[in-house]
Amino acid sequence: MSLFDWFANRRKADPVQPDGRERDIADGLWTKCEACSVMSYTKDLKANQRVCSECGHHHRVFSDERIQQLIDPETWVSLNAQITPEDPLKFRDRKAYSDRIRETQAKTHLQDAVQTGVGQIDGLPVALGVMDFRFMGGSMGSVVGEKLTRLIEQGTQAQMPVVIVCASGGARMQEGMLSLMQMAKISGALERHREARLLYIPVLSHPTTGGVTASFAMLGDIILAEPKATIAFAGRRVVEQTLREKLPDDFQTAEYLLSHGFVDAIIPRTQLKSTLAQLIRLHQPTPTLATVS
């Protein structure tokens, strides 16, 4: 899904009529599965990491909840939360970028589209970045670039593995070329982390597209993806315009990328934490074996 699709979908979303069950949906008490239409008690859905217990559909999960799902309780230390976006281009489309920032911050209680920090996964120290699609489609501007770069630099310095959960429509156009350059900046930090022989695992959630796909999402030593996540460089509609025939239904899905050799494994969310822990352990130096008598 490109930013374009994101805007289009956002437009399509009709307000729910407040009527009985529907009112409960609006209240957030019940959630209707987009895939199988089964109604779940939101609390149960959340307990199952927002995976539909009926059909296995992975609903969107935002940064706070994702951090709770992955990081051991009481071990999370948020980093650089004080960094906030500016409006260097004085950009204005149908709305001023500065207003867009303020409104989105008020609505999401986020400073920008990524949260970063250090914590433990099953007792293993890790530097974790989690993108948040609610903040302008998870778009990458200067703040996302700076926070992720600092996170990776910290990981290199402290000799920690880095995990980044991706969810993004791509570069943030409102910051122009400064956004594009964040792709290079983050990739440079990853080069140093790699040079230090440290492990980096991106987790591609729905959707991971554009400039994020063309940089840190695809630079993992091991790349994991969530089931059915859209993973793309160019938006589906743009690709369609270059073709006469119809695109395959599974085009640009996690499954498609797996079969084409671009991701290592598709991991259901309920197994993500244990898989990350397993992979990190497998990359730790083998303890010296005691002499077996």
């Binding site: 930013l3 374009f4 805007f7 004080q82 960094i83 906030t84 976006p85 500016e86 260097p88 281009l89 950009f91 489309d93 149908r94 200067s142 703040v143 670039g145 700076e146 770069t149 570069a171 156009m173 409102q174 910051e175 122009g176 070329m177 400064l178 956004s179 594009l180 350059m181 792709m183 290079a184 900046k185 990739s187 440079g188 990853l190 080069e191 140093r192 790699r194 040079e195 554009g210 400039g211 796909t213 063309a214 940089s215 840190f216 999402a217 695809m218 630079l219 793309a232 460089f233 160019a234 938006g235 743009v238 690709v239 270059t242 073709l243 695109l247 085009f251 640009q252 084409h260 671009f262």
Partner: protein
């Protein structure tokens, strides 16, 4: 050696009908009038040389005025001018010798939209590569309008790593609307190919000089754009997304492209302000296509001068400086919490 210049000289001759941009119209009208007066004078055997001289200097002035006050949308038109010199034009014109190399050794194709090889530049062996647009419609089909596929980016990386192994500096020339957004390109991992280049270019230990000669289109440009020195020709542009795409997404109206071009801050001066651009090169009046040989001279001098500066650095310092150059890019606010 002149044989190399075949296509190039042809581009500069006035034999071919010039392609005019709408904002050049007043200039063309004035030049037509000068021609008329000249013909009239000849027919009637009167001396109008003083008058013609005056009109010609007015034309020069007008040309200067037009090209020094272009809007971003007009500059984009110059950057996309079909006669604007391309990567191969510059490479062939500034090299003592040049051998093109092909293929990425994997995709089973050779991408014609991204070319590269080894050249001798002022006596030194250098790897040169870049996006290649077509010189006419037929050539553009072969060159895919300068939109490279994953195979092109992987070929570029192969050549850059070759340069690294043999201690050759790298010159890249950027001129693309963007990486190709096609079905096969996605299937073969367009995102992965670009991402890989971004990271690996930071690992190279030879000087990398990147020049935007026309259109710097998003990730497709950046995929060969991580270097020690970024140079831009005056009428080239560098964008996060094409103004057309940006207008369609943010304004929901592709006809707002000129407005988007303005808002996106895509000119060399804008990039200089943001600390992204190192060297801004003035083009001859009328743009690079009006005088390709002069433009080549200007670019060649700038490349040599900046190469000398970079060759003086030890490989580790070069890498460190490249890292820091990109590390600084970004504008954000940081509220410092006062610690007790």
């Amino acid at each position: 050696m002149l044989g190399y210049f075949g296509d190039f000289v042809d581009m500069a001759t006035t034999e071919r009908k010039p392609i005019l941009l709408d904002f050049e119209k007043p200039l063309v009208e004035l030049e037509d009038r000068i021609q008329q007066i000249r013909e009239l004078a000849e027919d009637n055997a009167v001396d109008v040389s003083a008058q013609i001289h005056q009109l010609e200097s007015r034309a020069d002035q007008l040309r200067q005025e037009i090209f020094t006050s272009l809007t971003p949308a007009q500059r984009l038109q110059v950057a996309r001018h079909p006669r604007r010199p391309s990567t191969l034009d510059y490479i062939q014109a500034m090299s003592d010798e040049w051998i093109e190399l092909h293929g990425d050794r994997g995709s089973g194709t050779d991408d014609q939209a991204l070319v590269g090889g080894i050249a001798r530049f002022n006596g030194r062996a250098v790897v040169m590569l870049g996006n290649q647009k077509g010189r006419d419609m037929k050539d553009n089909v072969v060159r895919n309008f300068g939109m490279a596929s994953p195979g092109g980016y992987r070929k570029a990386l192969r050549l850059m790593q070759h340069a690294n192994r043999f201690g050759m500096p790298i010159f890249t020339f950027i001129d693309t609307p963007g990486a190709y957004p096609g079905f096969e390109a996605e299937e073969m991992g367009q995102g992965e190919a670009i991402a890989y280049n971004l990271r690996e270019m930071f690992a190279l230990e030879v000087p990398i000089l990147c020049t935007v000669i026309g259109e710097g289109g998003s990730g497709g440009a950046l995929g060969i754009g991580v270097g020690d020195c970024l140079i831009m020709l005056e009428h080239s542009v560098y964008t996060v997304a094409s103004p057309e795409a940006c207008a369609a997404i943010l304004w929901k109206d592709a006809t707002r492209a000129p407005q988007a071009a303005e808002a996106l801050k895509i000119t060399a001066w804008d990039l200089k302000n943001f600390g992204i651009l190192d060297v801004l090169l003035n083009e001859p009046i009328g743009g690079a296509h009006a005088n390709p040989l002069k433009t080549t001279e200007i670019l060649k001098d700038a490349l040599q001068e900046n190469l000398n500066r970079l060759l003086a650095l030890a490989p580790q310092d070069l890498k460190q400086q490249r890292y820091e150059k990109f590390r600084r890019i970004g504008v954000f606010a940081e509220a410092h919490t006062v610690s007790a």
